[in-house]
């Protein structure tokens, strides 16, 4: 019962669930696993310019016909439109944009951009779509697994044909692959990899938190594909924990180790942070500043 479904639950829910899980645990270990905490780069710092975050709705997708979703755009205070900004897209945007959540991405962006540790970057935080119900009493159709877990270019096309052009009407966005990153948690993590894998000329940086490189919809094949496909110009940061899921779709710690081994074998520019966390954003959130510094290092302006 406790292992049900965690890999598609918003992180806010996960945090609450973790509290319940702990209260149910028969034995409390002396030094708890998964006891990651946020550092100063994830806290609002006095004197650091704060960007603005606005909420929007995406209602007219053609790539995912009939879906509706919320999304947020973060614009750094320093952005003035004089030159194209870098772009970072997040799946499960609501969780990543939450300034009190496990990631606090916009706060981290503020701090890192201010210190010059990552470039001027506009954040696009997209929730997964859902097809609204026709009648009262019907459930909307959740499109999250379909959009995130499917191995195809469909989500990449959604970004490149719809989302980026629309956001680009208001803000100058760079179209250079080294200026474009994408990240996500769980199924959103494999989705990030899929986008770059399908369209490396458009996205070159991947951030995966407890990524679902398992057989939800065939994603377990990536390690073998990585080994037997000419190396693509992708930089990959993988975060994973030894207490992550083991269920019908696969074993998350093993799958991520397979990914890391394959990326190593094929000489990718990758980093693998393997901790002792579970299927949540605690570890990923705690190391988000470090991950972003690594991912955006030596990015030409």
């Amino acid at each position: 019962m406790l292992r049900l479904s965690l890999h598609r639950v918003p992180t806010g829910v996960l945090a609450a669930f973790a509290c319940v899980a702990l209260s149910l645990a028969p034995i409390t270990p002396a030094s708890a696993a998964d006891d990651y905490t946020l550092g100063p780069d994830s806290m609002v710092q006095e004197g650091v310019p704060q960007g603005t975050t606005t909420k929007h709705q995406w209602l007219n997708s053609k790539v995912f016909a009939g879906t509706e979703r919320d999304y947020w755009i973060y614009v750094p205070k320093q952005y003035d439109g004089s030159k194209p900004a870098c772009v970072m897209v997040f799946q499960d945007g609501g969780s990543y944009v939450d300034a009190k959540g496990q990631f606090r991405t916009t706060v981290v962006f503020d701090n890192l951009i201010h210190k010059g540790e990552m470039p001027l970057t506009i954040g696009i935080f997209l929730n997964p779509g859902q097809v609204p119900a026709t009648e009262a009493g019907q459930k909307p159709r959740s499109n999250r697994s379909f959009e995130y877990d499917t191995l195809s270019d469909q989500y990449a096309r959604f970004l490149l044909e719809e989302v980026l052009p629309e956001v680009g009407k208001t803000y100058r966005l760079s179209d250079r692959p080294e200026h474009r990153a994408i990240g996500g948690i769980s199924s959103g993590g494999i989705c990030a990899f899929t986008v770059a894998w399908e369209r490396p000329e458009a996205f070159s940086k991947v951030l995966s938190h407890v990524g679902s490189f398992t057989n939800i919809r065939g994603g377990h094949v990536y390690p073998s594909l990585i080994r037997k496909t000419e190396r693509k110009p992708i930089r990959v940061f993988l975060q994973e924990g030894s207490n992550d899921l083991d269920n019908l779709h696969g074993n998350w710690p093993l799958a991520n180790q397979e990914m890391a081994a394959a990326l190593k074998f094929s000489k990718y520019d990758y980093r693998f942070d393997y901790g002792d966390g579970g299927h949540n954003g605690k570890h990923g959130g705690a190391i988000l500043p470090d991950s972003l510094r690594w991912l955006w290092r030596e990015t030409p302006q």
């Binding site: 026709t134 009648e135 379909f146 877990d149 019908l248």
Partner: protein, 292 residues
């Protein structure tokens, strides 16, 4: 006290849409339960359909006969000379709707097995009847899906696929269509007038038998929590409501597996049509009656 509150808290934290996850086969299969043969000696069985008491009817397509399986397992002939009636489903009016394809009709059989024509001059393979009497049926030769409104007006509502099985979600807001050569199942949103929109490859990928290039997906059923069961060459594949494969239940025998429904008074037993035989298997899930 604490034990009472924890489940309540879990329920609060996990609204049904989120809780319905990680549906391994172990969550529905019962240890010690296996397929039991219910009927044999047929040529090609299809169209299992459950009546309001839990009895299951099925058709032998080339023999043009419809049989009834009583609750005690006894099989009797219900109708003959059915013009190769294929897909069957009971409607809210208690009639047995069928794809009487040999006469290019959709019909409704009453309790005396008399066939009333609902639509004619249409080819059909399988159908689903909603709680309001609305019918959708697949037309493989025409590569389309039709809708018959409660006033019997018929309309093409999907084209350009090679459809076979068809089923509604328990809440009747989404329709699912199989296409035997595709390793996915199509979903559509059901609009108020019965038209189908937002076609997508929601379910998938389906498991394929080793070396095969197509799943041979055919008839389907759904359970009360929204799991979907689809007959395929690789077995009876179960999907969760978010379109993810939970697993493939082994076929009762080698050869075709053409269709499935829930039967029994509690709708807790899967009935499958498999070539010359019909089998059943009790599981930990319950079927649905649309609109009830």
């Amino acid at each position: 006290m604490r034990r009472i509150w924890i489940p309540a808290l879990l329920l609060l934290l996990f609204p049904p849409a989120i809780r319905a996850q990680d549906m391994a086969l172990s969550t529905i299969l019962i240890d010690g339960e296996n397929w039991q043969m219910v009927s044999s000696g047929h040529r090609f069985t299809e169209g299992p359909a459950v009546d309001s008491d839990g009895r299951v009817y099925f058709t032998d397509v080339p023999e043009s006969k419809i049989f009834k399986i009583d609750l005690d397992g006894k099989v009797t002939l219900f109708a003959e000379n059915t013009a190769n009636t294929n897909g069957l489903m009971f409607g809210p009016d208690g009639k047995l709707y069928g794809c009487r394809n040999g006469e290019k009709k959709i019909v409704a059989y009453n309790a005396k097995a008399e066939a009333e024509t609902i639509a004619d001059e249409v080819q059909s393979n399988d159908l689903v009847v909603a709680g309001n009497g609305s019918i959708w049926f697949t037309d493989p030769p025409g590569k389309r899906v039709w809708h018959i409104a409660p006033d019997r007006k018929k309309t093409v509502v999907a084209e350009g696929i090679n459809p076979n099985g068809i089923i509604l979600w328990p809440d009747q807001g989404t329709i699912v269509v199989t296409e035997g050569q595709e390793a996915i199942l199509w979903t559509f949103r059901v609009e108020r007038d019965g038209t189908l929109t937002n076609k997508d490859r929601y379910y998938g990928p389906l498991q394929l038998p080793s070396g095969a290039d197509r799943p041979g997906s055919d008839g389907m059923t759904v359970d009360a929590v929204g799991r979907l069961y689809v007959t395929t060459r690789a077995g009876l594949q179960m999907f969760d409501p978010t379109g993810r494969l939970g697993g493939a239940i082994a076929k009762p025998q080698a050869g075709p597996l053409s269709n499935v429904c829930f039967g029994g008074p509690k709708l807790d037993t899967l009935y499958v049509t498999a070539g010359d035989k019909v089998f059943r298997r009790k599981i930990q899930a319950n079927g649905v009656r649309y609109g009830k």
